[in-house]
């Protein structure tokens, strides 16, 4: 499944994970300790971030450390996606306003 960066940042826990591992590489267990969520939920977030191409992996022994690829964050596509959401939200406001003005006869 093709994922984009917006899917990564759409979830508040994933955003928080991104901030954590932007500073230094961490194992999934170390990441999970920072959140009041299950180990499985943490793994799922890490998998999605990985599928978005946002993670660099580093193996030491049996452990994998994950770090955020900061250069991916600067992709223009991310802003464009936010901009698209911006227009979607704006037009959804307009839908409501038009329905009100129309007397909601539609």
């Amino acid at each position: 499944m093709k994922r984009d960066i917006f899917q990564a940042i759409a979830d508040p826990t994933r955003r928080a994970i991104m901030v954590l591992i932007a500073i230094h590489a961490m194992t999934p267990n170390a990441i999970a300790e920072h959140f009041d969520i299950s180990r499985q939920a943490t793994s799922r977030h890490i998998r999605i971030l990985n599928e978005c191409g946002l993670l660099a992996q580093e193996k030491s022994g049996r452990e994998i450390h994950y770090q955020l690829k900061l250069e991916k964050m600067s992709e223009i596509d991310m802003w464009l996606e936010q901009f698209r959401k911006h227009w979607e939200a704006r037009y959804s406001n307009l839908d409501s306003l038009l329905a009100n003005l129309n007397g909601d006869t539609a």
């Binding site: 508040p12 928080a16 959140f35 009041d36 936010q82 901009f83 227009w87 037009y91 038009l98 003005l101």
Partner: protein, 167 residues
């Protein structure tokens, strides 16, 4: 029953344009009014959690809309739109720029040309907005700036969020 309304968002980096097309389940005159009368425009133009507030508006060729996007803390981001040409109710062309509270344009930031057209078929209205910058460099400047603001906003949300998670 709500039918799905068309929404297209196309980016053309070669021509430095964005094309946004959206259908509305309302007559064209009403959709036009919502774009050209400030008391209606300010009710939808700002995406949540922002609100739009008009400082002044004069919808005529050579006229303007001077407005602020206000965030929930009350911080104002000023914009100044100048109307270049108007043909009711088919469309208008405007120049959209960043300004300050007095309406003075920020000369360091590029202005975009908006070509907004309104068409109608089968009881639905279609609004097409083509946002064009002078150059790819201008588009990139605005994109980078927006991205920084977006990231800042995201980080501010995180500041509020992290204490609730890190128990």
């Amino acid at each position: 029953m709500k039918a799905k309304l068309q929404f297209d968002f196309l980016v053309d980096k070669d021509n430095s344009t964005l094309t946004i097309r959206r259908e509305f389940a309302a007559p064209r005159q009403l959709v036009w009014d919502c774009h050209t009368r400030h008391e209606l425009l300010e009710q939808w133009f700002a995406p949540k959690p922002f609100t739009a507030r008009t400082r002044s508006m004069d919808f005529r060729e050579g006229g303007h809309w001077h407005y602020a996007m206000v965030d929930p803390e009350g911080k104002e981001y000023w914009g100044y739109t100048e109307y270049v040409s108007i043909s009711p109710i088919d469309g208008y062309v405007s120049l959209d720029g960043f300004s300050d509270a007095s309406g003075a344009l920020n000369p360091d930031l590029p202005r975009a040309r908006w070509d907004v057209t309104f068409t109608e078929s089968a009881g639905r209205s279609l609004v097409q907005t083509i946002v064009a910058y002078d150059s790819l460099a201008d588009l990139e400047t605005v994109l980078q700036m927006g991205m920084q603001e977006g990231l800042t906003a995201t980080l501010e949300q995180l500041d509020a969020l992290l204490p609730t998670l890190d128990t």
